[in-house]
Subunit: 345 residues, 2 copies
Amino acid sequence: MLARPTDDSSSEIARAIPWDGGLDGILEAAGDVDVVTFDHDPADPSVPQALIDAGVVVRPGVRALELAADKLAQRRALRDAGLPVPPFAEVAAPEDVDGFAAEHGWPLVLKAASGGYDGRGVVFADGPDAAQAVLAGASGRWLAEPRLPLERELAVMVARRPSGERVTYPVVESVQRDGMCREVLVPAPVAPELAAEAAAIAGRIAELVELAGVMAVELFVVDDRIVINELACRTHNSGHHSIEMCTTSQFENHLRAVLDWPLGATDPRAPAAVMVNVVAVDDDHDPARFVDCALAVPGAHVHVYGKRPRRERKVGHVTALGPDLDDAGRRARAAAAALTGEVPG
Amino acid sequence: MLARPTDDSSSEIARAIPWDGGLDGILEAAGDVDVVTFDHDPADPSVPQALIDAGVVVRPGVRALELAADKLAQRRALRDAGLPVPPFAEVAAPEDVDGFAAEHGWPLVLKAASGGYDGRGVVFADGPDAAQAVLAGASGRWLAEPRLPLERELAVMVARRPSGERVTYPVVESVQRDGMCREVLVPAPVAPELAAEAAAIAGRIAELVELAGVMAVELFVVDDRIVINELACRTHNSGHHSIEMCTTSQFENHLRAVLDWPLGATDPRAPAAVMVNVVAVDDDHDPARFVDCALAVPGAHVHVYGKRPRRERKVGHVTALGPDLDDAGRRARAAAAALTGEVPG
């Protein structure tokens, strides 16, 4: 849908603005565009507000970005709206943690209110000493939550445009290991009622934050009930499958949404899809050198990002569609293993 | 599948080499790559051979590019291989044309052996005077063919890698007007035997030219029989539907093929697809300004190329998938009309 401008170009549709020019560079590049959006969480959280102050249209709006970036503000806003969040409390001092633990028991999860990503800024504490060590060695605001007995994690990608149209992607299961998403199963293998509840919650949050763009809502399933985990107001790892699996990808719908254009259908193109992240095993083995091996797996859609490999860094992903999760999963895992050099389990 | 290199990049997979540096610039850019290919017919036909002379691996090979660029050499090679080409003769002087017409009758088609594209270099001549005027006003080598009573035009996209693996895309109908492809119907609404014959011919040509890449074989249907029209050894307008319609697009399979990587499946994702070219009506009405209108058509996949509009210039295309050609065609035509400002017929 998008074209890079050329000398002989027509109306320009999209343009990449690099971060390395700083706020001045971004403001200059944004001077003649209709709308600015982000494909990552903003590297500098003050930039969106500075752009707005300069009269630039920023989508998703500052409220959505704020709530995605500040877990404490987010928990409060969602709780106040009657949405299912886990018990939580801001913890600034050891006695705050002790008070929360007295009510909810140990172990606890301590989360940095901002700056966390892929498990960073999330610490499990078995008792008061561990909790105190975390707070003593950290800066910023923290919140405590009980460590929930998770059955599984779900994610729902929703797209909404300013004039109100909204579409929801299939509810997926996000399979985590060591705090990082490893696989995404589409659709999530859960009861239809639970999937419908997950989709409804994502829709309510999209309205609450007046979303203009795409948003991933990450959810826990605890005792067959849904609890909200996190929001990400951008294209998200849990939606990468949509490139091949859905009529319209999360990337295209994000752009449509921020431009207030009609949103595209999110229908699945196959009964099932599995997305497997390609996580580098060390600094030497570059998955990009093994794309040919991965492509030998029938039906494997191989994406490498051109990032230098580093242990535990996501450097690509593979998606496979199939008649069921088992078939799609075997293909996607085999191709991902060919890239990383690991033997599938 | 492909990533642009960054400062923090891993093994580079693909790089665009611009033509505007001339042969020296291309040779320099090609110095450290494994293989060079083309996404257009080479702007300067001597470049591929110059690259090969400099030790660069070029795919598809020079033989395939030569036959695609020289209609006379192509006709001879295909005829000699026993493949169905129309009657033809090289015509350098009026008496050559008269001799051909004495055997095959008027009207004739005169074709420039090289340089033609989208109807340019193809002239219909009703009689000797018209033919003589064409040859008198033209340079280069020309060939004459009878004007065939076409029932329809088909196209087959085939991909082949140097080690021999080959895949064939669904046989499509190319709907032409004024010498330009306007629509592509997938699959072509023809008898299965005819489609199978078309696919078999494309496969034989791929082997004959030792194709390494993708090739579009354009075919005429005359009296329920197939006659070869043209070859294009590159991604082609008749294969644009594959972006959404097929498991692996022509663009991805071209890159896989020139890298001698495993080819991807070409299965259709829906019973039918229609691709409609977006052809500018004048210099002022820029289809890129109406993308939002086109996207309001459910299921329309809108592509605009960022080219400045000019009457009869292809500046984009729309593909729609559907349960049948009628449904897909109505959606694709409606979206294309929204872009050009025309009312669908």
